[in-house]
């Protein structure tokens, strides 16, 4: 007898979430291969509703009886479930599996790492290069007593290059990376070229301007701006009353140039999926269109509390990944997409004339993120003068509020979006009204 069938002997409804994560990871340290790891992790989570009360339990491995008893015990002391499990029907599938990724051997991953080390050392012999590569699949199966079963196998391929340039009195640490679902979308040469560009730009340290100079966020740097929005547009933050966007649907909260979409169904998007971790079909969900607040994203619980429809945004895991089967679902973005404007990063540099470029920050999420405030050390940043990159800045902090910057300070949105953090497809953004403090 299956676990759901056994669950229904004590519970009126139940839901099983099962994931099998299979990965091969290769790690280079100091320019040399250090380890190869294979992971095969089976995780399960069971939700049950008993006498109207919700229970949850999770486990790794095969212990079905333990999982069932734990979920039932949780329900005994749980609260009334605000939602019902949806009927599961396979809708139109999104392309999320590239068989080619499965065929990539450890040797091949190793050869990509070697090429990255070789190419960077050739131009910068003193730079220490660490590389991490990973390929694998996540097989998800959801089944519930409202009927139906959904399964999906999703591929993932990632490469990260960390370059450390250590000279007397100066350490320059650079990280570039990509996470994709499709082999064709990971071009190691592009990543290497990006690392080389930032190393060249960063060879010399120059003083940063103080005050409120124009700030150009590279695609990776825009995380400073979109991370607080991932909290602000969350249906749960709205329900809890902590989102500054609460009650502002239809309002012009941002600059007209700003359009933000939560794309659940982009073919091979790194966070695309046919259904969310509660079995609700995903969608294309505009969050802001031409600066006007359009939608919030909801899981089953937040939707029930807000009297809204679930948006296929019930994700098990944290904002920038992690968590998985051990975490009950909560509302989260799939692929967050900022609609591009025009011009490359270089065009925006020429346009801004003077200012700074923020390519990476330290201390993401620290500070009062719910209010939209950010305050970060610029981990990788550059100084622009006369429309040209003059060198790297150090010991510099940026601070501001996303809701102000994207309303009154948005100068330009570039036209060359990139995938960053495995969850966002974003162009460079030129902004004003960001405070810059430097030593």
């Amino acid at each position: 007898m299956g676990i759901l069938e056994r669950a229904t002997q004590a519970a009126e409804s139940a839901e099983l979430y099962e994931e099998l994560r299979s990965t091969v990871d290769v790690t280079f340290r100091g320019g040399e291969i250090e380890k190869v790891a294979s992971r095969e992790i089976l995780g399960r989570a069971l939700r049950v509703i008993v006498d109207g009360r919700l229970g949850f339990a999770s486990t790794a491995g095969e212990d079905e009886e333990g999982l069932l008893q734990a979920a039932l015990a949780s329900a005994r002391h749980g609260d009334p479930a605000p939602f019902k499990f949806p009927k599961l029907s396979p809708g139109e599938e999104v392309e999320v599996l590239d068989e080619e990724v499965l065929g990539i051997s450890p040797d091949e991953l190793i050869s990509w790492g070697e090429e990255a080390v070789r190419a960077i050392r050739e131009e910068f012999p003193d730079v220490i290069v660490d590389v991490s590569l990973s390929r694998g699949t996540l097989k998800v199966r959801i089944e519930n007593t409202s009927g139906g079963e959904l399964t999906e196998r999703r591929s993932l391929l990632s490469m990260g290059i960390e370059a450390q340039w250590i000279r007397e009195g100066d350490i320059y640490l650079l990280w570039v990376g990509r996470t994709v679902r499709r082999r064709a979308d990971l071009v190691p040469e592009e990543l290497i070229a990006e690392a080389l560009k930032y190393l060249r730009w960063g060879e010399h340290v120059v003083p940063a301007p103080q005050g409120k100079p124009p700030v150009l966020f590279t695609p990776k740097g825009t995380v400073v701006l979109f991370l607080p929005l991932m909290v602000g547009f969350s249906g749960l933050s709205v329900v809890m009353g902590t989102s500054p966007l609460k009650g502002r649907i239809g309002e012009q909260a941002f600059d007209r140039k700003f359009t933000l979409v939560d794309e659940g169904r982009l073919p091979y998007g790194p966070s695309s999926r046919s259904f969310d971790d509660e079995g609700v079909p995903t969608s294309r969900l505009p969050l802001a269109e031409e600066g006007v607040v359009k939608n919030f994203f909801f899981d089953l619980r937040a939707a029930a509390l807000a009297d809204a429809d679930p948006t296929g945004s019930g994700i098990r895991g944290g904002m920038l990944g992690g968590g998985g089967f051990r975490t009950p679902p909560s509302p989260n973005v799939r692929n967050i997409v900022i609609q591009p404007g025009e011009g490359s990063l270089e065009d925006l540099i020429a346009e801004m004339r003077e200012g700074i470029i923020v390519a990476d920050v330290l201390g993401l999420g620290q500070g009062n993120i719910q209010s939209g405030a950010f305050s970060n050390n610029v981990g990788v940043g550059f100084v622009v003068k006369d429309g040209k990159v003059k060198g790297r800045l150090k010991n510099t902090m940026i601070a501001g509020n996303v809701y102000e910057v994207l309303k009154d300070g948005l100068k330009a949105i570039g036209g060359a979006p990139e995938w960053v953090y495995g969850t966002a497809y974003v162009p460079p953004i030129l902004a004003e009204g960001v405070s810059v403090v430097t030593r």
């Binding site: 091969v24 340290r29 040399e32 291969i33 250090e34 380890k35 190869v36 790891a37 294979s38 992971r39 095969e40 992790i41 089976l42 229970g55 949850f56 999770s58 486990t59 790794a60 491995g61 095969e62 212990d63 333990g66 734990a70 015990a73 949780s74 002391h77 749980g78 609260d79 450890p106 003193d126 220490i128 450390q164 250590i166 350490i171 640490l173 809890m240 009353g241 902590t242 500054p244 009950p328 909560s330 330290l362 201390g363 620290q366 500070g367 009062n368 719910q370 209010s371 405030a373 305050s375 970060n376 050390n377 981990g379 150090k394 010991n395 902090m397 601070a399 405070s435 403090v437 030593r439």
Partner: protein, 457 residues
Amino acid sequence: MEAELQEALRRCSADYAEVRWEELERSRVAFQRDQLMTLERSREAGGIVRALVGGAWGIAVFTDPDEIPQKLSEAARLARAAAHKVSDPIRLAEVPPVQDKFLPQLENDFREVPLEEKRKLAEAYNRLILGFSPEIVSSSVRYTDALRHVIYANTEGTYLEQAIPDVTVLLLAVARRNGDVQQAFESIGEAGGYEIAQGLEERAEAAARRAVDLLSAKPVKGGRYTVVLDQELAGVFIHEAFGHICEADFLLKNEPMRKVMQLGRRFGVEQLNVVEEGYIPGRRGNAPYDDEGVPRRKVYLIKEGVLSGLMHSRATAAKTGMEPTGNARAVSWEHEPIVRMRNTYIEPGEASFEELISGIDHGIYAKGAFGGQTEFEQFTFSAQYAYEIKGGELGEMLRDVVLTGNVFDTLRNIEAIGNDFQLKGGAGGCGKEDQSPLPVTDGAPHVRVRDVIIGGR
């Protein structure tokens, strides 16, 4: 399990191999405002094997214990695939094999406490926060307990069993006035029994009071300040800014960084002593034996202002000709051990708090850690709240205080060290590579630092 593990290891063809099998029993209760978000008591189990062949590691992670022999072969095969590419092979410092059990008796074993009671405890704290003021609009109260039972064996004859308890409580309040939202929290984490989570009513109210007070606090003006850090923040500073660069794994194949981190190099004033310690009764960062089966050693990272030790795994110890310190830790069975901190602290000095703030004409007293991150010499961390210091006296409450700097400059700029030492384990943990959150403890007395950059508008 001992016989099976040793038999599997005997048959393994690697130069060296180890198996770690973990069983975890845990409970979690989480409230967000009026919603019970999580109520769970469950178990999980999983394992990892690691094989060294020709100076490269192969690793396999799994959830079926019957597969240990196959996983050992797989790890050896993966190591072999990498080994022929290696020119600077990994070696392991020698340690004597040990057979030991470290299974502490919990006085008030949280596994015996009904889940219902844990729920009631968290709910009571949550009610205190929500009822504190009409301006409190939301809350987050989280209780967790876990007993991590670890069986470890390697091909050198080491066999260990350890049980590591961990209890955490997070008490977070969110206040709102007009459009402004502020939050404050108290965070508790210790290695012990259920008593750690009890009796925290005053802490819950303190979080709520502070969230409300922050609504009236002034945003800090960015600039350079002399800053007095409270014990918690000074502890986070020493962990984030300095501790991480004393983890010898990133020096392993990094000649330039090894030159920067030369033992004997002066990093701070004579009064500065920084310690890394594997076992202090009741502390979260405890690792009696690390996840390579190495017994703990207490390390002075800084003694009298001078760099005098680093944290090591067996590989980094062999590379640098040092002794392993027992710092190779893994966050769970899903991961291999890497060099991590345990209990890390600045030893107390002699200054009283009044002496620390007196003489500061225009400075900041920063309190409570919000978070932090480091990238070698650059670090950043944020205070939960702060006060102005004017003419040697505490003034108005400040908010949005994020500090940043260069660790070497900042250590040199430590001017005075207080006499009011405190150790603190929070509800969070430390993150490194993809392993988070690892239980750690930080500690320090109040510390005064000049020339700290504070971001702000």
